[in-house]
Amino acid sequence: MRSNESGRVRIDLRDRGILIALVLLAVVLALINHDFRKPVNMLNILREASFEGTAAVGMTLCIISGAFDLSIGSLLALLGMVTIGEMHALGLAPTILAILVLGFAAGSLNGILVSYLRIPAFITTLGMMYVYKALAQIYHGGVPQVATNAIFTKIGSGLFLGVPIPFIVFATCAVIGTVILRRTPLGRYIQAIGNSEKASLVAGVKLNRTRIITFGLVGLATAIAAILISSRMWSANSTMKSGNGGYEFNVIAAVVLGGTSLAGGKGSIFKTVVAAVFIAVLKNGMNLLRIEPYWQYVVTGIILLIAFSMNGLRAMLGRILPFRDTQRVI
């Protein structure tokens, strides 16, 4: 994508970085491993990507607005357990509806604490993480809930028109999230706050309301993910998805990997989707290549590190090699 300033070319390459990485990775894996190429496998990858990806859609909005949410892992466990636990009594549809509402409310609570009580997001969500963790252990004594509703369990493992249902949900959330971000005033406000809180204040943006809704959306996305995951696992317990560093960290990693900066102000849900798929492809590929699980761990960490240090690496290279740098910000 060429334009007037030569700097533009490099920026665009970087913007498409994760997509290129995904394509490259997929192509390489497809060439060297024939199991990878099987359609069943591809669908599996999409399904697996959806479990963290769905929550990552909400988290992307949150990070664009300049905050992040550490409580989603525990919230996930709690909502998962409540979903299955109450389904006997309430039935499928009402339960799902209730969980979605609950998720949004939980998220909004974070938003209220951050906005009105001025507690930094780090600490608020850290505190709520402990609270949800506790609630998950208190709910029905922390006993893992096992799903019995046949339709419910189809959600996580089933296909619809050949596509895994979780992925359809994931994609739908991604589309809705993108629409919110790009086509609604709320989305503009989210970007504005992430860009500059002070300028947003001057421009008349309703800071508190925007933040509360944003956190609410994170909670909602987490609720959806909880439904998908507990359906897939046919069960839910208080420590689900807490391996590998924790659900919240994996979700945040996916968002940052996709290019959204933790500093806020800009980002793309599409790229988060790509990053989530990338991570799923990576895991799948390493499995198929029979790389030991523990090496997988290290490889994942190193790749994340390389991705996060792109800026720094480029800066280092820039000092060694003479690139024309059009990005001088005074």
């Binding site: 009580l117 507690i119 505190g127 993480m129 002070k198 560093g245 933790l262 290290v298």
Partner: protein, 329 residues
Amino acid sequence: MKIWERYGIFFLFLVILGAFALMIPRIVSPNNLLNILVQSSIVSIAAAGMTLAITSGGFDLSVGAIYALVSCVLGKVIPVVGLTLGVFTALMVSMICGVFNGLIITKLRVQTFVATLATMIIFRGVAFIYTGGRDVELYGLPAIKVFTTGRFLGLPVPLLMTLIVFALVYFLYHHTPLGLHIRAIGSNEPAAVTSGIRVDRIKIAVFVFTAITACFSGLIGTAQLLTGNGRLGTDLALQAIAAVILGGTSLAGGRGRLLGTLVASILLATIGNGLNLLGVSAAYQDLSTGIILIVALAVEGLRQILGRRESFSAKAVAGIKSQEASDAQ
């Protein structure tokens, strides 16, 4: 209102201890109090290092992973070279981890959050690879139990370690140029750079400190469990951060409250102990940790709001002219 900042956590501790004492008098028996102190030592020691990190304006999410790695190293190395060399090796390994963290953040300019997130994954992965994913047993090495049940000068070793670590960190913080510079960096990093402080080097040193404290925590924890594997310590980082924040250290940096960290950590252990004695499920311990964290900071936040008539932003907006305003631009 600054009273809360200075002494709040002490009051809170006394209140909670008092409340428990009313319900179970034996909680304040010397034996039990000693018990609490020992139980809190793992988090306390890690929190000491974390206090330095947060004072410098950063934090370290990978301490739990270093803890796990240390447990694996101990388990595999001690049978071969004995306790002393084994501990020494673990210390070296943890320091390498610290330097690694520091280099990534200072030279590659990766943000602290995602950097220590990634290294957390990497260190744990290394631990898994090193042990082949299996647990390493230390039952056959009773010598290591000195770190948990041992006594020295009449005090349990973990307690002694906690006191020594805090004394050392306190000394470093208040009586060395390094401590001064750590606070300077946390208070105003650009000014620190301008003042000629070697910010990068100090940041690396800070990460080495957090790694070392993670190692000591790992010594105690491994001795308690007599097992080493890569899955340990998943809560350590966040618990340490919680203790530091509760203790009054501000996340913004520049102001560390070591004593507060210690008290907060003991407070959290007290709650656990008390709930245990009451026969209440461990879940409520988490609940109270979370609620205390939020309430403590809500009070701080309310204080800020009520203490000023303008909104927070107006103060920033209306203040003394910024540099740009006086530019000839």
